[in-house]
């Protein structure tokens, strides 16, 4: 029976890979997810069969199993159904937390209760210690990250005196307790110390990281969760967990690298706390204000209505103002009027990888209009109007020059469009805290308005002009 179940697990793992493979196109992605979910359901059913067949489970054990599954599924289903798309990063963080937490618990259970007394030793305790360590760090780190994203924990970097020595002490503590565990397998005290050190380290690791770096942090914690699950697979001798964990670890790793590259920052730099990443910078000086050209709503509406090609550059400010639906409708009116509309999406637009695409998809924007940075940059010189809403640092031409905070960061070539319109509430700075040279470009017009109000009024004005 055990062998049959293992083959089922292997088939499920193969379906996970195929499911992920189908994610490479929006046409097949949904089928991929369904395949993966079906494989998971079969694997879980097979586990139930295995548990019944083994017959070691007590009545209380069944009760625990059923109640735990019902409670977890209920909470998961409810949150998944009701969550706002803007809150996806928080939800993914919470799932990272529970996944990492569960993985750590498996190892704790295995070591403390000596599930496999015969095989304990370096064979089980090295991955076990790693599992508890990575799982614990992921759990507390993800909870803090979710809190920051939800606004329960301040999203500004929280630094306190002595943070660095504390982190160092925690690192020494978990390395030594892991060593202790390997030397003395089954030591409950070592498990407790290791768990607490890991939880504390996760907290102090994420607290000093600012809001702008969240896409990197979420990806990194995702990679950690995968690795922790993989380690749990080593502990429990389950290849299904090893394969699934490795897949997720790889996916998280790739996304972490992409996000860090898109911000031109090193992963270690972010974890150790790099440049100040407050949510709002100070307002720009008076001389910058003097040189900007402020435009009226009607000017912008006319420009858009008579353009042949418009590229919209959305940033997180758009989502924060919940203006994506208005934007989708504005684009639809322009399209019906014969204007070619597309969206230029910077990899770090939003709070997690690809977040902006989901927000625009929710606002009924067809995905072929969502263009990646490499794809859209050559198109800017042909665009009559580039409409920037809620994006800042990723449009700053200063990144092409050395010697400033964003030097070398890949940017959208908005300044190469024939005309640029920026909808923005004030001349406030982006995360990098420097002036955006795009705003003082002679061909840039600034529309000083709230994103949602601005886009809604623009929609009405354009509608009047095109007579729709």
């Amino acid at each position: 029976m055990g062998t049959v179940v293992r083959y089922v697990f292997l088939a499920a793992a193969a379906c996970f890979v195929i499911g992920l493979h189908l994610m490479n196109s929006p046409r097949t992605a949904r089928r991929g997810n369904t395949l993966s979910a079906a494989a998971m359901a079969v694997a879980i059913a097979a586990t139930v069969v295995l548990v019944v067949h083994d017959g070691t489970i007590t009545t209380t054990g069944w009760l625990v199993l059923v109640l735990g599954a019902a409670f977890g599924s209920g909470v998961g289903l409810y949150t998944a159904r009701t969550v706002q798309m803007t809150a996806m990063p928080q939800l993914v963080s919470v799932f990272n937390a529970v996944g990492g937490g569960a993985a750590a618990l498996l190892a704790i259970d295995d070591i403390v209760l000596a599930l496999h007394p015969g095989v304990l030793g370096a064979r089980s305790t090295v991955p076990g210690a790693l599992d508890i360590l990575i799982g614990g760090v992921t759990f507390s780190g993800s909870v803090i990250a979710a809190g920051k994203l939800q606004g329960i924990v301040p999203s500004r970097p929280i630094v306190f005196p002595g943070a660095r020595p504390l982190n160092l002490a925690l690192a020494v503590l978990f390395v030594s307790s892991a060593g202790w565990l390997v030397a003395d397998p089954g030591s409950t005290a070592a498990v407790v110390v290791l768990t607490l050190a890991a939880l504390a380290f996760g907290t102090t690791m994420v607290l000093p990281i600012g809001g702008a770096d969240m896409p990197v942090v979420i990806s990194l914690l995702n990679a950690f969760t995968g690795t922790a699950v993989g380690m749990a697979g080593f502990v429990l001798d389950e290849s299904a967990l090893i394969i699934a964990g490795a897949l997720v670890g790889a996916s998280g790793g790739i996304l972490t690298k992409l996000m860090a590259d898109a911000m031109n920052r090193s992963i270690t730099g972010i974890i150790l706390g790099g440049f100040g990443t407050g949510d709002t910078g100070p307002a720009a000086g008076a001389d910058a204000n003097d040189r900007v050209r402020s435009v009226s709503l009607d000017d912008v509406a006319i420009q858009l209505a008579y353009a042949a090609k418009v590229i919209v550059v959305p940033g997180y400010g758009l989502a924060a103002a919940q203006a994506q639906h208005e934007l989708g409708e504005l684009a639809e009116i322009l399209e019906e009027h014969g204007v070619d509309v597309s969206y230029a999406i910077h990899p770090v637009a939003g709070r997690m990888p690809g977040h902006m695409n989901v927000l625009l998809a929710e606002a009924n924007v067809p995905y072929p209009q969502l263009k990646e940075m490499e794809e859209v940059n050559p198109e800017f010189p042909h665009a009559d109007v580039a409409l920037v809403i809620g994006a800042n640092d990723v449009t700053n031409p200063a990144a092409r020059r050395p010697g400033n905070a964003i030097s070398g960061m890949p940017i959208l070539d908005v300044d190469r469009a024939k005309s640029v319109i920026v909808i923005k509430r004030s001349m406030g700075h982006g995360y990098a805290g420097i002036d955006n040279e795009l705003y003082t470009d002679p061909k840039t017009g600034m529309l000083f308005m709230d994103a949602k109000k601005g886009v809604a009024e623009l929609k009405a004005a354009v509608r009047t002009f095109v007579g729709a």
Binding site: G19, A43, I44, V64, G76, A103, P368
Partner: protein, 112 residues
């Protein structure tokens, strides 16, 4: 089937490589669903949680098993449902409007 450490490591390393290969082809448009889909996959940890529930025989064991099963179940169910919800929103040009025009046609036909 007891995996020896060497086999387990081989499986792990090869899976990481397969993961890199498969995932690097995913377009940025789908990175959020990819991450949440990958999240559901690591919900496979629920299988481990079920196995520890099956061998639990004291209070500590039951508590650990309950929390682990609940965490894992939440991860699996929530992850797949939210990923499906997101992917449902991605549509190519025309899908939605075609739907709408068919609707209008049906209404006008009904009227006529």
């Amino acid at each position: 089937m007891n995996l020896d450490l060497q086999t387990a490591l081989t499986v792990f390393v090869l899976s990481v490589l397969v993961g890199f290969e498969v995932i690097s082809k995913v377009p940025t448009t789908l990175h959020t669903p990819l991450m949440s889909g990958a999240n559901s996959i690591h919900g496979v940890v629920v299988i481990g949680a079920m196995l520890i529930a099956s061998t639990a025989h004291d209070v500590l064991g039951y508590v650990l098993a309950f929390v682990a099963v609940a965490f894992g179940a939440m991860n699996v169910v929530g992850g797949y449902v939210v990923t499906d919800r997101m992917l449902h929103m991605f549509r190519a040009r025309g899908d939605g409007s075609r739907q709408r025009s068919t609707d209008t046609k049906t209404t006008s036909e009904a009227k006529g």
